[in-house]
């Protein structure tokens, strides 16, 4: 073991109490810190990506800026670093009061890690203020967002190259769990680098997760199947849906008709209830979380045994991110996608609703008075107008984007439809070498009944909450009296 490697391991032991790194972690850190390279790392979900920038930040000193896409996740990311003993951490985003944002910017020297949304980073004044600090590491978390969301949803992602220059080219680390060749090339193209990014591409394959799709006749059948699965699958699990309203309804139903303890998790949940859900889930006091995909979940729980998609994701990247919450302890887990023929219409409608229609683009460029623009679409159009694009150019751009998104949706539907070699289908989509023999297995469809026992899912013993103890005892327990 080299001196550097020994030092890395000593850090790992000292701060995280682990003896060994997970695959990819040490390689990325060595490239970044010993060989001084900028890195694009594609590491499957559950490999501990955050540990890489935590450790690199500790090693490099100065300020580590982490660009993170999900506002709802940022506070959880801060809390996670706090729990690792890193106190000088802060999040800066549009959900904060302007007074708080000002306070943070005034006190930047007091922080070692800053989580920031791309929109906030590119705001006038913010980038300039940050650039006055010694930024030693710029991390782009969920870097696939640059290609996936940049052009038609969050154009500020396309300006991160400017931030990199403003910070005087610090060490650059781009992290994602899913990025095919095209996405990786798109990411590279955003940055003007002294030398190309060093790529570490690990397979998206998660061999311990059994992949299953079940096509059902209609909504009622899907609902009944969900109840059946939630009742029979062991261990903690997550159900993903695309609508908050339906998430609430399904929670009530699951709570009433199964013996599992269930909670919903989405953007409308009050802060203290969100905390209760996170903590209870972590401590095995809560069995099932019904979550919306749009709302990031800041829960890093190693023993989630199953993920069920009640509504499918809009692309395979998103799907793999979500099922990647299962089996992070490398023990067997299962990902089940329930699907009816009409589901892709629902997703397709969601895709279309995000992209401005031709008529909207026309009204924008004609500056039609009192036209009711969707605020998200307006921001997007304003961005492209500020880049000097005309109506025709923007229209063509969105048409191309829509095509790309529809293709991605088709791949998702194809994943459900395909009745042979499902695991290799995923690998093909991401441009990976196909597996052979047993390694290509561990998947199934509705054609065969799900044999839960054969999955050998480890069981987790649920903990009782302290809900039933009297208030005096609870108080004594809280304060060790």
């Amino acid at each position: 073991m080299s001196e550097f490697n020994a030092q890395l391991h000593a850090y790992l032991k000292q701060h995280y109490h682990f003896d060994t790194f997970r695959p990819g972690q040490a390689e990325v850190l060595t490239a970044l810190l010993e060989r001084h390279e900028d890195v694009l790392a594609v590491l499957p979900t559950g490999t501990g990506k955050s540990l890489i920038y935590e450790l690199a930040g500790r090693y490099l000193g100065g300020l580590t800026v982490i660009v993170s896409p999900l506002l709802s996740l940022m506070q959880d990311q801060v809390a996670r670093l706090n729990a690792h003993g890193i106190r000088r951490t802060v999040a800066l985003n549009s959900m904060q009061h302007p007074r708080t944002k000002f306070f943070i910017l005034q006190n930047l020297a007091k922080f070692d890690y800053l989580f920031i949304a791309p929109e906030t980073l590119m705001q006038p004044g913010v980038l300039e203020t940050l650039a006055q600090q010694p930024v030693n590491l710029l991390v782009i978390d969920e870097a696939h967002s640059i290609a996936q969301w940049g052009p038609d949803f969050r154009p500020n992602y396309l300006e991160l190259g400017r931030a990199y220059q403003a910070f005087k080219q610090p060490r650059l680390l781009l992290l994602t769990a899913t990025a095919g060749t095209k996405v990786r090339a798109d990411i590279q193209s955003q940055f003007t680098l002294p030398k190309p990014l060093t790529e570490f591409v690990y397979s998206v394959n998660r061999p311990n997760i059994h992949l299953r799709t079940e096509k059902v006749a209609n909504e009622q059948e899907k609902h009944a199947r969900l109840l059946e699965l939630v009742q029979s699958l062991p261990g903690p699990g997550i159900v993903y849906l695309s609508s908050k309203k339906q998430a609430n309804q399904i929670r009530i139903d699951l709570q009433q008709k199964t013996d599992r303890k269930v909670a919903t998790y989405h953007g409308d949940i009050e802060n203290e209830q969100r905390f209760a859900i996170q903590q209870q889930f972590m401590q095995n006091q809560l069995d099932v979380i019904v979550a919306t995909s749009a709302f990031g979940m800041g829960i890093d729980k190693a023993d989630v045994r199953w993920v069920i998609h009640y509504h499918m994701a809009s692309d395979l990247e998103g799907y793999l991110q979500e099922i990647g919450r299962a089996g992070r302890d490398q023990q067997p887990a299962v990902a089940i996608l329930l699907y009816t023929e009409t589901d892709d219409y629902l997703v397709n409608n969601l895709l279309i609703s995000g992209i401005p229609e031709d008529v909207t683009i026309k009204h924008f460029y004609r500056q039609t008075p009192h036209y009711a623009f969707d605020p998200q679409q307006l921001r997007l159009l304003q961005y492209y107008a500020s880049q000097g694009m005309d109506a025709q150019g923007v229209t063509q751009l969105f048409q191309r984007r829509l095509l790309v998104k529809r293709l991605a949706l088709q791949q998702m539907v194809q994943y459900v439809e395909i009745a042979a070699d499902k695991r290799n289908y995923l690998l093909r989509v991401f441009g990976e070498t196909e597996l052979t023999g047993d390694a290509a297995g561990n998947w199934s469809t509705q054609a065969t009944p799900l044999d839960i026992e054969a999955l050998a899912l480890p069981t987790t013993v649920p903990n009782q909450t302290a809900a039933t103890i009297d208030w005096q005892t609870r108080l004594e327990k809280l304060f060790n009296q």
């Binding site: 506070q75 959880d76 801060v78 809390a79 996670r80 706090n82 729990a83 690792h84 003993g85 802060v90 904060q96 009061h97 007074r99 708080t100 306070f103 943070i104 709570q255 303890k261 909670a263 009050e270 802060n271 203290e272 209830q273 905390f275 209760a276 859900i277 996170q278 903590q279 209870q280 972590m282 401590q283 006091q285 809560l286 909450t465 302290a466 809900a467 009297d470 208030w471 005096q472 609870r474 108080l475 327990k477 809280l478 304060f479 060790n480 009296q481």
Partner: protein
């Protein structure tokens, strides 16, 4: 369910400004008009409690259900159906009782401080520094950190525990039980709404209101002695007036005239009058104090004009439409005077 709660703020005899509800619940800077109507509707104790309220949406929905009527100026009142819904709401949902302290201390902000303080002290009691902290506004976190540093470990653990225990013992057992369900700390999680022993008619909004109301009760109790919780409350103390209003009122109370204050501060006399009005409303000046602000001649004109009519029905134009803005100040002050005299309760300065 905030929509149902809105019904409790209305009646079937008086038209009310729904916008005022939204402005007050959202918090932030208030105009004199919002503060005044907030006082009339007894809404000021709920300042900033429901920041995400979309009042227009709620009003439209209540109107669609036939529970409220809306006049051409956008004022609303309960229909007969709305009155029944209101009666049903108050029997099946939680209605707060202790929120008046929220006018001088920000209960919502205190809730965040209190929960994180409680968690930190609990972890401290187990000498654990590595935990997943409850996430609150960063400035609040720093304030709390400084507050914690100002007390010894032993005092924090012992006194915090004792103060909570003493106060909880004064509550009915079921309330004490519920209150501790919202606390979390070392190896103790707070309860999900679905596992709380509350009436089946309650929803998460009731639980939210219950928590705020009981924290307000704890705060009111803690003010009575030199407690640890009282010292934490200082971080949540509200400045009732803006700096500018505070300056105007101070100068004016030093017996400078409105015009002198305006000249000295280089602001309009009417702005000074607004500052004084805002102070009278938010600092709850007594009827005697308000009376001194209105010339006796104007009081007579106003008394002759409006008599015993409900102040919500008074029309300013009938008194001094188009006249100097100071007459509007007299008009408002006279309304305040009537309110203060009638209620008596607001004769108490906070």
């Amino acid at each position: 369910m905030l929509a149902g709660y809105v019904l409790t703020k209305l009646n079937s005899t008086e038209w009310r400004r729904a916008k005022v509800f939204g402005n007050i619940w959202q918090g932030g800077a208030q105009t004199v008009s919002t503060s005044f109507w907030g006082l009339v509707y007894d809404l000021l104790p709920e300042t900033g409690l429901f920041a995400s309220v979309e009042i227009e949406k709620i009003v439209k929905s209540l109107q669609r259900q036939g529970l409220i009527a809306r006049d051409e100026h956008g004022l609303v009142q309960l229909t007969a159906k709305g009155a029944s819904a209101q009666a049903e709401y108050v029997t099946t949902h939680y209605v707060p009782e202790h929120l008046s302290i929220n006018q001088s201390y920000d209960v919502k902000f205190f809730q965040e401080l209190f929960l994180l303080a409680n968690q930190t002290i609990s972890e401290l009691a187990y000498s654990n520094a590595q935990f997943y902290p409850y996430q609150i506004d960063l400035r609040a976190q720093w304030q709390l950190k400084n507050w914690l540093k100002g007390h010894s470990r032993e005092v924090l653990i012992k006194q915090w525990y004792l103060e909570l225990q003493t106060w909880l013992a004064t509550l009915p057992n079921a309330d004490a039980q519920l209150f501790t369900q919202m606390l979390f700390g070392h190896d103790v999680t707070n309860a999900l709404f679905s596992e709380l022993p509350v009436p089946t008619t309650w929803d998460e909004f009731d639980w939210q209101v219950w928590q705020l109301d009981h924290l307000a009760a704890l705060m009111t109790h803690s003010l009575q002695s030199d407690s640890l919780i009282k010292s934490l409350m200082t971080l949540a103390q509200r400045a009732l007036l803006s700096n500018s209003a505070e300056q105007s009122v101070t100068l004016w109370q030093q017996l400078q005239s409105v015009n002198q204050v305006a000249q000295g501060r280089r602001i309009k006399p009417n702005t000074v009058r607004e500052h004084i009005l805002q102070a009278a409303i938010l600092q709850r000046w007594s009827a005697n104090e308000i009376e001194l602000l209105i010339p006796a001649s104007e009081q007579k004109v106003l008394a002759d004009l409006y008599g015993d009519a409900e102040i919500t029905t008074w029309d300013f134009k009938a008194y001094a439409g188009g006249k100097d803005p100071r007459y509007f100040t007299y008009f408002r002050l006279y309304q305040l005077l009537q309110l203060a005299t009638k209620r008596g309760a607001i004769d108490v300065r906070v």
